[in-house]
């Protein structure tokens, strides 16, 4: 190969490789499995942890129970999969805004649930402020039997 040909190959190879990869991605996308746009299919609790407000709104809109526990994949709340309610997920990930949103959109909070959440909140001021605003009658804070998931 002539010198100029090697230079041309060196210059063109990255762009051609990129295009080849993109072509494969387009073909995969046509079959609904785009490698660039993977569908992570979050559970409601995962959406809470990830602050994916649109996914939270969509899942609740499609009928997901904001009080039901669901799995949270490893690496988000712990090194293993944990099963928590959306309210617990919001409390553990210190998302006060999401916590407020859940409580205003169907999540129920009774004294035992409130106690657990209040203990899990620890010293986080924004989360405890939300929980104090939504404190049910008769709720008492007692953390002896409360442990993180």
């Amino acid at each position: 190969m002539r010198t100029g040909n090697w230079r041309a190959v060196a210059l063109a190879a990255p762009g051609c490789a990129l295009s080849a990869g993109l072509a494969v991605a387009l073909v995969c996308a046509a079959s609904g499995r785009s490698p660039i746009w993977p569908d992570h299919r979050l559970t409601l609790s995962e959406a809470v942890v990830m602050r994916a407000d649109a996914d939270i709104a969509r899942l609740i809109g499609y009928g997901d129970d904001p009080n039901a526990p669901s799995d949270v994949r490893p690496g988000l709340l712990a090194d293993r999969t944990v099963r928590v309610t959306p309210l617990e997920a919001a409390t553990l990930s210190r998302e006060a805004g999401v916590l407020e949103h859940l409580l205003r959109n169907g999540a129920l909070i009774e004294p035992l649930v409130w106690n657990r959440l209040r203990c899990l909140a620890g010293g986080d001021e924004s989360v405890t402020a939300v929980l104090e605003r939504h404190r049910p009658a008769g709720a008492v804070m007692r953390c002896d039997d409360v442990s993180p998931p």
């Binding site: 230079r7 060196a10 991605a25 785009s34």
Partner: protein
């Protein structure tokens, strides 16, 4: 490989451009209409009785959306036209139009390269990654208000470059005039179309006749006269928008406080910053990100990549450009001068137009022309046998070219990541829209539009960026 060889270099270049353009267009179709900066314009056109009324209503003045500093009637008329044609399928209409614009920009750029040989193809492959990998390009795809008017100007500029290389004749002249008019009535930086036409004519490389150039120049003069003298539309003042200054962004009131007495110095900074941004990827939007990151002890890899790729390419362009000027060496084809001259002219003019505040996407037209200059420079290096053979090791040159091209290809790939992050943010912006309980059931067209756009955004699926790992943000940014 046989299929590739049978294809021909020009077809192969178009094929490359099509793949790159289609993949980015697919990304755009996965994004909802953004809430911020787009919703007010949509509500505005919704209220307007028609396209003509929208056009006339945006010819400046207090009732115009642009007020007394912007003249963009065609931009808003276009939004109104798309809005009415969409028949309620807003995302499909606006994102579809955005995707079509993007594809047009990439294909027009590929056409303008006029690939004839496989050497040209190699340089075009490199140039396409520069075109889509430069940080100024990202601004034309990340946002849309709800049309990205900067991308429209890039398309108009690419049209102009194609017209100056066309067959010539009265049709070409008319097309050039129409392109200029459309561009300048869409966005102020549409004047860059005249810059391309004039610069090409000045260096003797234009197929637009002298009459055509005079017509476009006359239209420019008429535009300036009507804008400043008849409609009394001025330019954005100091402090109307935030802008970067050395190591941080300054708010509008701080800009007024610091430069209110002598704004000229700030304007000079903006012009120089815009020029440097295109040439060296630093500063970006007026902020010296590299320096700032260095001072805090954490320079992300994406900053190194951008600065190294741009600096190497700029040095290559300067070197080849100088050879072309001083040696008048046209070995690599007689259109290299066209690219160098028009790029230089557009760079200076684009920077001048963005004197009031710096923003990467404002200099997107200059970034597009930069890719053209990179094509011309790379093609020269591929043709050059004599000088490089003596002075530099063949292996070193190949490695340098591969590294430079690799960095641009990597940056081009990063645009896809930026778009999926942006899609996630746009969906969440809609979800966080505070809903007035009465508005949720209100029967007004405005409320119905907002509900429809919000529901469209929420119903879309897409990746969650934090689940992709930390490395994409470090290497590509968001």
């Amino acid at each position: 490989m046989r299929l590739f060889a049978q294809m021909g270099p020009r077809t192969a270049a178009y094929g490359l451009a099509m793949i790159i353009g289609l993949s980015l267009s697919y990304d755009l179709l996965r994004m909802p209409i953004q809430r911020f900066d787009a919703l007010p314009d949509l509500l505005e056109v919704q209220r307007s009785p028609g396209v003509y009324a929208t056009f006339v209503g945006n010819l400046g003045g207090p009732g115009s959306t642009g007020g007394t500093t912007l003249l963009r009637p065609l931009k808003f008329a276009g939004i109104k036209a798309l809005f009415d044609l969409s028949d309620g399928h807003y995302r499909l209409a606006f994102r579809g139009f955005h995707a079509a614009l993007l594809l047009a920009a990439v294909l027009l750029f590929a056409r303008a390269l006029a690939v004839r040989t496989w050497t040209d193809f190699a340089a075009a492959s490199f140039a396409l990654t520069v075109f889509t990998g430069i940080h100024t390009f990202e601004g034309t795809v990340r946002e849309a208000f709800p049309i990205n008017h900067t991308l429209e100007v890039v398309v108009f500029c690419m049209l102009a470059v194609n017209l100056v290389r066309a067959r010539g004749g009265w049709l070409t002249d008319i097309a050039a005039a129409a392109t200029f008019l459309a561009a300048v009535l869409t966005l102020e930086s549409g004047v860059l179309v005249w810059v391309i036409v004039a610069a090409a004519w000045a260096c003797g490389s234009s197929r637009i006749s002298r009459r055509g150039v005079a017509t476009v120049t006359g239209l420019l003069a008429a535009y300036l006269a009507v804008r400043f003298l008849v409609l009394s539309i001025t330019v954005p003042g100091l402090g109307e928008r935030n802008s970067g200054f050395f190591l941080r962004m300054l708010e509008g009131d701080e800009l007024v406080r610091r430069f209110g007495d002598a704004p000229a110095w700030f304007y000079v900074y903006n012009i120089m910053a815009s020029i440097m941004s295109v040439l060296f990827a630093e500063p970006q939007s007026g902020v010296f990100e590299f320096v700032h990151s260095w001072l805090i002890g954490d320079v992300p890899p994406r900053t190194y990549i951008a600065v190294v790729a741009s600096t190497c390419t700029t040095l290559l362009i300067i070197w080849v450009g100088a050879i072309h000027v001083f040696r008048r060496d046209t070995r690599a084809g007689d259109d290299s001068g066209l690219w160098f001259v028009t790029f230089g002219a557009v760079l200076i003019a684009n920077a001048a137009v963005s004197f009031a505040y710096t923003k990467d996407e404002i200099v997107a037209p200059a970034g597009a022309m930069y890719a053209g200059a990179a094509f011309a420079a790379a093609r020269y290096v591929l043709h050059e046998e004599r000088a490089l053979h003596r002075r530099l090791s063949r292996v070193m040159v190949c490695l340098m070219l591969a590294a430079m091209a690799g960095l641009w290809a990597f940056q081009s790939a990063g645009v896809h990541h930026a778009l999926r992050v942006q899609a996630f943010k746009h969906r969440n912006d809609w979800a966080r829209l505070t809903e007035d309980p009465s508005a949720a059931t209100a029967d007004t067209p405005e409320a119905a539009l907002i509900r429809r756009l919000r529901q469209d955004a929420i119903n879309m699926h897409g990746p969650t960026p934090d689940l992709l790992g930390r490395w994409p943000d470090r290497w590509w940014g968001e």
